[in-house]
Subunit: 246 residues, 2 copies
């Protein structure tokens, strides 16, 4: 299933967020795409173009939230679902159904981890600011760095360890979109929780090696050095609040 | 793709939880399945059989958490992924790829809602008891019932409203696994937040009608009346804490 489509990605223009998992797959594949909300409103794009497609009067299959992807006639929402669609088209997942289900299962587990990272700074109300929920965030972050995060990292480390086809990748013998997403997780965790990650890293040699392996893929390296890669910041999912990083 | 497989479902035996979304699909389809962790340890089943399959020394594709499903040679985890696999086999989703992606997108949005319901009683630490996070739970539940829940219900109501093929169902002109899951959401919300749901229900006539339509499907009605349907209780995702329901 070769990639012959032109893609339009819709996501918030100033954060990596969940859109970044899609960007990394498109970049690694060298796919043609437009990051619509980052383009100018004058050109008919920008955030207004994204918000219009979330109205069911305009789009019969509207997404609950960004990111979503237009590919030809279809408009697909939910990060893991977009990757399920893109994986075979970008040659970023093995061909057989069992491998694709397994890749998707891992991607959904990554999605669960992403939600838990987000909730470290927004444990009680996603509509309020962090400063309005700091004591609760400290409780949640303490549980996250002490219990939940090691449980997730143990899991992903063990998946690489028990992959009979590779010492580096999660699935089969070559890089998949799930490896790209796990790279993003490690990069984000290092940004948000540098002390915790310094403490935990020796326990997860394969995850650290995977991060390095992805970062040095030629297309990914070029992307990370380009202006297309939005820097980590304090509006995204991974935020650096030192008081949450013990 | 007719259903010729025999299924083994693995999930915690005393709660509906995320396993219930799978049970409802299997029941509606009249599929043959064993709810393994609810069977006796003496027969080689029960919770120990489930926990063994979560060890990567025994299962090369272990799940991070239940539920997971064995179907022939494959073992599939993540609730929405299991339904992605089962949907066509149980004839509970349209055949074309675009419809299946759309169904899966809606199912993943339901999964997000389920996580938010869970976090109303466990906002800061999933490993602690509710009684150890009551003030934080009140904050989270207030945001949930006041802001997040109406946003989700608005969305799903609008999806039925704008379905050109049906006034009742979410996708196409017949019942899909996503309708079964949304039934479970409405049932659970009514259990956990009866006052909130009494207040909100007049705004969502199509969701209420969908719940009724699913509840009166002959196989679902028999299932709900049987001992196979675990009652809602205070260990599941939907819990009735009156102080969280304003």
């Amino acid at each position: 299933m070769p990639d012959k489509l032109y893609y339009k990605l819709y996501y918030w223009p100033t954060i990596q967020g969940r859109g970044e998992f899609i960007r990394l797959a498109l970049e690694q594949a060298g796919a043609s795409y437009t990051d619509v909300a980052r383009r100018s409103e004058r050109s008919g794009m920008g955030v207004p173009a994204m918000l219009r497609l979330m109205e069911n009067t305009i789009n019969p299959l509207p997404s609950f939230a960004p990111p979503f992807l237009q590919a030809g006639d279809v408009c697909i929402g939910q990060t893991a679902n977009i990757l399920l669609f893109l994986g075979p088209r970008l040659n970023l997942v093995p061909e057989d159904e069992a491998s694709r289900l397994w890749a998707h299962q891992l991607q959904l587990t990554i999605a669960d981890l992403v939600t838990e990272v987000h909730d470290t700074h927004h444990p009680v109300a996603s509509g309020l600011y962090y400063k309005d929920q700091k004591p609760e965030a400290l409780l949640r972050a303490t549980d996250f760095t002490g219990a939940r995060l090691p449980k997730f990292l143990d899991y992903f480390e063990s998946i690489i360890t028990s992959n009979p086809h590779s010492d580096t990748y999660l699935i089969g013998d070559k890089l998949s979109y799930v490896d790209l997403s796990l790279f993003q997780i490690i990069a984000g965790l290092r940004y948000a929780f540098p002390k915790t990650m310094k403490r935990l890293s020796p326990t997860y040699p394969r995850l650290i090696a995977l991060h390095q392996q992805v970062a040095t893929q030629p297309r990914i390296a070029r992307y990370l050095a380009s202006s297309r890669r939005i820097a980590f910041n304090q509006q995204g999912i991974f935020r650096r609040y030192p008081e949450l990083d013990r």
